[in-house]
């Protein structure tokens, strides 16, 4: 559905722009076509002299008049491709393919013999760059204007100032106007000739932008300023930007933490189910995640290009199925014989994990496989000072959906009810007529299937390799130990705590130290609560 409506919206948008541009084209043809021709002629004549001051004047006029041919002419001039025939009074340029076109009419010229190049020097090149910049500032496409404004903001080219000021007056799109004002402020902040008033205005504008670039610009004003008013304004702006940046930084860390938590939750929640129901550790759980990731890879490989955008829609059910089937096989063939020996289950499933890893290595090779993001999951966007990568965002969404879905299964289905009963007291549940063997099998299928879904998510952010699962399994164990097995909320809380704490500690003491600190914290924590945050209570818990 969302993709559908997006398509529709795109279509509407396209149709609208098309209609507008047709109108604009018609209007420009009708109104200004005739009037402009003479002005352009006057300008082009200046090139025929081939004298630097004349050429510079011509550049300035091209920038100011902005006829449709200006961009091509300026580009050709910069590349030494602008040609003149002083005898016949023709200005022309050579295209990249070598054909010669009349600069004014755009018609091809067959006879190239009489032409000579227009000379340029470095001063002229600068003028050309400035003029090209101002031309883009006047581009009819608002996106192009925005990009040009960003360009000026970065280069802080003082030559662009007049064009910029002219455009600010004309600009109708508020976003672009803002960008223009920022660019102007950036130029004023760095130029030595700006007045105190200009500088104060620049500081105000930059303060509103409030990012790292703005900070460094204001810093430059503060260092150069002699006027006390400017100086104090700059200082206060600096401190306000500083706190702002700190807050955004903290928010960004929180976001990273949330993203790490969602991955942890996806990887650990299946483990919590199997561990909770059966009290056995499935060391091959990481390999279920890995299988899910490879299922995504296979889907991407087999799907025709027309369906590639929908690959995840196929990958998620397939990954669930593959992992669930393998999980059931492990449960039926191995784990069910080892229920009274949990420690040996650990060893046996470790053996299974080795076999699965080696199988995948034999089938797909030991190298990383590339799984590409579908379009809606690639790229990033900004919310204030926050950079949000789209794939991470969707993984968070997926984690929430999986969590809610599992809660529904556990709370609202007969299977969930029976599963909870077995978790709480296996013997009593069996005495009440629940087939514990069946529940074990289904719980294992569910837990493994969810791990497969986690694999789909991980394939979007991590390398798909046979060792994929190994990287997450120990952290998942920690989540389960920390959160306890009585309740999925424990797993969620455990994943959130560990994920966020890790990302908050990471910049302070480094990634590895952060993990070690967390490990120590967990060991100390289970002093107080040996069975995790949400422990089951009851007589059979120890069993």
């Amino acid at each position: 559905m969302p993709a559908n409506s997006r398509l529709l919206r795109d279509f509407r948008h396209d149709a609208l722009t098309f209609a507008l541009s047709v109108l604009a084209l018609l209007a420009s043809l009708l109104i200004s076509g005739a009037a402009r021709a003479d002005a352009l002629d006057d300008t082009l004549v200046r090139f025929l002299d081939d004298k630097f001051p004349q050429t510079e004047k011509a550049i300035g006029e091209l920038a100011a008049e902005a006829p449709p041919q200006a961009a091509a002419i300026l580009e050709a001039l910069g590349d030494n491709r602008l040609l003149i025939d002083p005898a016949d009074h023709i200005v022309a340029y050579k295209t990249a393919t070598g054909t010669i076109l009349n600069a004014k009419t755009g018609e091809a010229i067959a006879n190239a013999a009489a032409f000579k190049k227009v000379r340029v020097n470095n001063a002229l090149r600068r003028a050309i760059e400035g003029a090209t910049g101002s031309l883009t500032l006047a581009n009819p496409d608002p996106e192009k204007r925005l990009a040009a404004a960003e360009d000026v903001f970065r280069t802080r080219d003082a030559n662009a100032l007049p064009a910029l000021e002219a455009q600010i007056a004309k600009e109708s799109d508020p976003r672009v106007a803002d960008a223009f004002r920022l660019a102007r402020a950036a130029i004023l902040a760095t130029s030595d000739s700006a007045t105190a008033q200009d500088r104060l205005a620049a500081i105000d504008t930059l303060k509103a932008r409030g990012d790292q670039d703005a900070q460094s610009l204001i810093d430059r004003i503060a260092q150069k300023a002699t006027d006390p008013a400017v100086k104090s304004a700059a200082d206060s702006a600096l401190s306000s930007i500083h706190t702002r940046l700190m807050m955004w930084g903290a928010a960004q860390d929180l976001w990273y933490g949330l993203s790490a938590s969602s991955v942890l939750l996806l990887a650990a929640i299946g483990l919590a189910i199997t561990f909770g129901v059966m009290g056995v550790i499935n060391m091959a759980h990481g390999e279920m995640v890995m299988l899910g990731a490879y299922a995504t890879y296979v889907v991407q490989l087999l799907l025709p290009p027309s369906l590639q955008n929908w690959s995840l829609a196929f990958a998620i059910p397939l990954a669930f199925l593959v992992a669930a089937i393998v999980g059931v096989a492990i449960e039926r063939l191995i784990i069910r014989y080892l229920y009274t020996r949990p420690l040996e289950t650990l060893l046996a499933t470790w053996g299974v994990s080795l076999i699965l890893q080696q199988t995948v290595r034999s089938l797909f090779g030991a190298n990383n496989r590339l799984v590409s993001n579908p379009p809606f999951m690639s790229g990033a966007f900004h919310v204030g000072g926050l950079e949000i990568t789209t794939n991470r965002m969707w993984i968070i969404v997926l984690a929430i959906v999986v969590f809610v879905g599992l809660q529904l299964v556990l709370r609202a289905t007969p299977f969930g009810l029976q599963m909870r009963a077995v978790t709480q007291n296996r013997r009593m549940a069996a005495a009440m007529g629940i087939s514990t063997a069946r529940i074990d099998m289904l719980a294992f299928a569910l837990g493994s299937g969810v791990a497969g879904i986690a694999g789909v998510a991980l394939s979007q952010i991590d390398n798909v390799s046979p060792n994929l699962g190994q990287g997450y399994i120990i952290d998942s164990f920690m989540v389960v130990v920390f959160g306890g097995v009585g309740n999925l909320w424990g797993t969620a809380l455990g994943a959130l705590t560990l994920g966020i704490a890790n990302k908050i500690l990471e910049p302070v003491i480094g990634a590895v130290q952060g993990q070690i600190v967390l490990l120590i914290v967990i060991i100390l924590f289970i002093q107080k609560r040996p069975r995790g945050l949400f422990a089951l209570k009851g007589r059979a818990v120890e069993a």
Partner: protein, 374 residues
């Protein structure tokens, strides 16, 4: 059955003592083309197996007799190895690539000016030996004290020990940690003045490993046979009951855990001069789990079985990784699965069972108690 096990133990010790004498003799005193000659590389390989066997005996003490499946013994082993490696590193002195008399090569490479405090004293052999014992011992003491006091048992304990191993694994990979980072410690020249390359040093190290294995067996056997050992086994079989009877269960476990960790450290210290390198991959969580399968293959709570299992599995590993490198992981994986499913008492358990009699219990009853603590 215990008497039977002791008889096997005696044979085992006698064989080891024999090997400790004959292997060096055959290696050094016979001509290289003789059929009886044991080339130095083989001596080294056998010595490596014996170190693994010590590790297996150490693990059997805690797993077989106390029900603690520690997945941290690979880490204790590696810590002992690092302590020995640091001594060997400082012995290199001016023979290193950078010829710095104090700083090992990797520190010069990283542009360090002073020897980190952790490395002080390691040029003195007795201090290094002390550290071989102390570092794993103290870590085990601290870790075990917290873990056992809060009654972390069963798979929870396994996971926590594995997490500890994993944390060390990652930490040792860092250059800043000061132990050679990714490359670890290597390029060793000599031990107590004897060149590590010479055949006689290799033979001596083999004998030392064999003697260490005998001692490890003797110490463990003595612990198991003592009154304390009986209590330890009782803790394994019925922890809560022992606690109710009035035993301080955690102290029993802690003692066994620390002794075992120290033995693992000593095994690591003997291992490093023989293989000539110690790097962070020795901390890999998989290594610790593999050690558990050696014990399982040989037979838990048999000591001899653990040692035999370690030697047998590692022999198979050497053979298969050479002959069929792609299939070794399948083989190892299947070994894990099949042994736990069909050979819960290991090879020695199979041997010890009188013919015709069906096993009374499938596995030694370990840590599964119904309706224990509320």
């Amino acid at each position: 059955m215990n008497a039977q096990l002791d008889r096997i133990g005696l044979i085992f010790v006698a064989l080891l003592a024999l090997a400790a004498i004959t292997v060096p003799v055959l290696s050094l005193a016979t001509p290289a083309d003789s059929a009886f000659n044991i080339p130095p590389y083989l001596v080294q390989l056998l010595g490596k197996y014996l170190c693994y066997a010590i590790l297996a005996v150490a693990l059997d003490l805690v797993w077989g007799y106390c029900g603690i499946l520690s997945l941290g013994h690979g880490a204790f082993f590696a810590l002992g190895g690092y302590a020995m490696g640091m001594y060997l590193m400082r012995q290199i002195g001016t023979r290193g690539v950078y010829a710095n008399p104090i700083l090992p090569d990797f520190m010069v490479f990283l542009n360090w000016k002073e020897l980190p405090v952790a490395w002080w004293g390691f040029n003195w052999f007795p201090y290094a030996l002390l550290m071989v014992v102390l570092v794993p011992g103290v870590l085990a003491l601290a870790f075990g004290w917290f873990a056992f006091r809060s009654r972390v048992t069963g798979v929870y304990l396994s996971i926590i020990t594995q997490a500890m191993t994993f944390a060390l694994f990652k930490e040792f990979f860092r250059n800043d940690f000061g132990f050679g980072g990714n490359n670890g410690l290597t390029d060793f020249k000599d031990l107590l003045g004897f060149s590590l390359q010479s055949a006689s040093t290799k033979a001596a190290l083999f004998s030392a490993s064999a003697i260490a294995l005998i001692l490890a067996y003797a110490v463990t056997r003595a612990i198991i046979g003592s009154k304390y050992g009986k209590a330890l086994t009782a803790v394994r079989d019925a922890e809560s009951r022992m606690r109710f009877v009035g035993y301080r269960v955690e102290n029993y476990k802690l003692f066994a855990f620390v002794v075992s960790a120290v033995m693992a450290g000593i095994a690591g210290a003997l291992y490093v001069p023989q293989v000539g390198i110690i790097n962070p991959s020795e901390f890999a969580p998989g290594n610790s789990i593999e050690a558990a399968i050696w014990v399982a293959v040989g037979g838990r709570a048999t000591l001899v079985g653990a040692a035999v299992g370690a030697i047998a599995v590692n022999f198979a590993k050497t053979y298969f990784t050479g002959a069929f490198p792609e299939y070794w992981l399948y083989g190892l994986g299947l070994l894990f699965v099949l042994v736990t499913l069909f050979l819960p008492r290991g090879l020695l358990g199979l041997l010890l069972r009188p013919p015709g009699e069906k096993p009374r219990v499938e596995a030694p009853p370990i840590a599964v108690e119904e309706g224990a603590d509320p």
